[in-house]
């Protein structure tokens, strides 16, 4: 039995010399949902980009039992669904359908299978009527759901989301939270939305200055106001 996400002693510095990750270790069980919180610039997004091999640092990363190394990148990217913070980055095709079909088409799946995957993914995010729509004209909440569908169509084992509720109105946020709760899949969610963390995630990880400074039960960590304040967070 493997962990879904295994990160051991990961170091990464950007080309300009900024040390973004300084010895990060994180293990996540299959089907576990974990929140990743911390101030801006703590290294959350950098860590997330490593899980899919977009950035490659020093240290060991295994995702769904596969080491994240150059020769494995194709397989790793099929297993890890990365949802970027700005859905506009994720939706680069003219229509919703083409965007959701990108992953399966890239993998070379047969056309009827692609069709099934797209319908299924859009059904899951409750956007089935949108497949012929132009992504560009959707609202932020709709774009976010489509962005999630674009990775669900790849049937990933792990879903990684970067600040999914940022910029959403309460109704869109509520329906996204319900969607995330219902997805039976391993999940790592980077966020500033502490209310969502408390509601949705049993386990939370705090990052600050390129390190993991706390990792444990949300219920316990949320009570430790001194710890939250020390890392620029607020008790909800």
């Amino acid at each position: 039995m493997h962990h879904s996400i295994e990160v051991d002693d990961l170091y990464f510095a950007y080309p300009d010399g900024r040390k973004a990750l300084q010895g990060v270790s994180l293990h996540i069980e299959p089907c576990e949902k974990v929140a990743l919180v911390g101030p801006n610039g703590a290294g959350k997004s950098t860590l997330i980009l490593h899980l899919n091999g977009i950035l490659i640092g020093k240290g060991l990363i295994c995702v769904a039992g596969l080491p994240v190394i150059k020769s494995n990148l194709g397989k790793v990217r099929a297993r890890v669904g990365l949802v970027f913070q700005n859905p506009d980055d994720q939706l680069f095709s003219p229509t919703v359908y083409e965007d959701v079909a990108y992953g399966p088409l890239y993998q070379g799946l047969p056309p009827d299978e692609v069709q099934n995957r797209v319908s299924e993914a859009l059904e899951t995010v409750r956007m089935a009527d949108y497949s012929r729509r132009v992504s560009h004209h959707l609202s932020v909440g709709e774009k976010k759901r489509i962005a999630i569908a674009t990775v669900l169509s790849m049937k990933p084992e792990v879903l990684v989301l970067d600040e999914p509720t940022a910029g959403m109105d309460p109704r869109a946020r509520r329906s996204l939270i319900n969607l995330l709760r219902d997805l039976p899949i391993t999940m790592l969610v980077s966020t500033h939305d502490m209310l969502m963390v408390r509601e949705l995630f049993e386990r939370m990880v705090i990052m600050d200055d390129g390190r993991i400074v706390a990792d444990g039960q949300t219920e316990v960590i949320m009570k430790d106001e001194a710890l939250l304040n020390a890392h620029g967070l607020e008790k909800p």
């Binding site: 099929a78 990365l82 970027f84 680069f92 088409l105 070379g108 990775v151």
Partner: protein, 266 residues
């Protein structure tokens, strides 16, 4: 997660770096003009021009390798001058045929081509030394000082500012695409899709980037209007030019005038 490679400025502590941007700008333009006005096949003057720019490179501490490496960028454009080898009348050196065509290399044509190549190579070096030793805002100040229309300078400035934003957006789009470019576990599937499909995706990305650039420009304009922009670019007055800068400007222009004089006199 930002792109820095677009910025040609390289910080060094050198005489060239500390020279007033206005002086550098005028001297560079004058140098390029002098090079362009030098008649073809004036080899000794080319050597002197090259020596001048080499001296500037040395003084700038940018490194000769760095400047010459970047100057190689000029070569693809030199190819545009290739036809003069065959089209200029003059004593024939050699001829060869491709199919039904017979091409004759003339001596004056070859001389003209080598002259054009050398002149553009030398000019590009001057531009590289200027761009690498002068921060872009200083360069804009210099353009304003020599009378480039303020609106044009403002457009340069906005372009410079948002080129990086655009490049960052392109980078994020490419990342998002890479993140979903996976490989299925089923054996026997061809990864990556057809060439036309990939071209379609790339086209979609380009269109996406264009739309976003377009919308961003709208937002930027509104933000400018919100802060009182009325179509008129207002700028702070320029600082005075020191005596040393005047001296550098005068002596630089004198050297170039002598070089140009030599070129016609020789």
């Amino acid at each position: 997660m930002h792109i820095h490679f677009l910025d040609p400025y390289h910080h060094r502590i050198s005489l060239v770096h500390s020279l007033d941007a206005r002086v550098k700008f005028v001297l560079t333009i004058a140098f390029i003009l002098t090079t362009a006005l030098t008649p073809h096949a004036a080899w000794p003057v080319y050597i002197l021009l090259f020596a001048t720019i080499l001296a500037a490179t040395l003084l700038s501490e940018l490194g000769i390798g760095f400047v010459l490496g970047r100057a190689a960028l000029a070569f693809p454009f030199v190819l545009a001058a290739l036809p003069v080898i065959f089209t200029l009348p003059g004593p024939a050196l050699t001829s060869f045929s491709i199919g039904d065509w017979t091409l004759t290399v003339s001596q004056s044509g070859l001389e003209r081509f080598i002259s054009v190549a050398l002149k553009s190579w030398i000019s590009v070096q001057a531009a590289i030394v200027l761009a690498s030793s002068t921060p872009f805002p200083d360069l804009m100040m210099a353009m304003r000082a020599v009378g480039v229309p303020r609106l044009l300078v403002a457009i340069f400035g906005l372009m410079w500012r948002y080129l990086f934003v655009l490049a960052d957006e392109a980078l994020r789009l490419l990342r998002a695409r890479a993140a979903r470019s996976g490989q299925a576990d089923q054996p026997g599937l061809k990864n990556g899709g057809s060439v036309t499909w990939r071209a379609r995706i790339a086209g979609g990305m380009a269109g996406n980037l264009f739309l976003r650039g377009f919308e961003r420009s709208d937002r930027i304009y509104m933000a400018m209007v919100a802060r009182g922009y009325d179509g008129e670019v207002r700028v702070a007055p320029l600082p005075p030019l020191h005596a040393g800068s005047w001296l550098a400007l005068g002596s630089g222009l004198a050297v170039l005038a002598i070089l140009l004089g030599l070129a016609y006199w020789l």
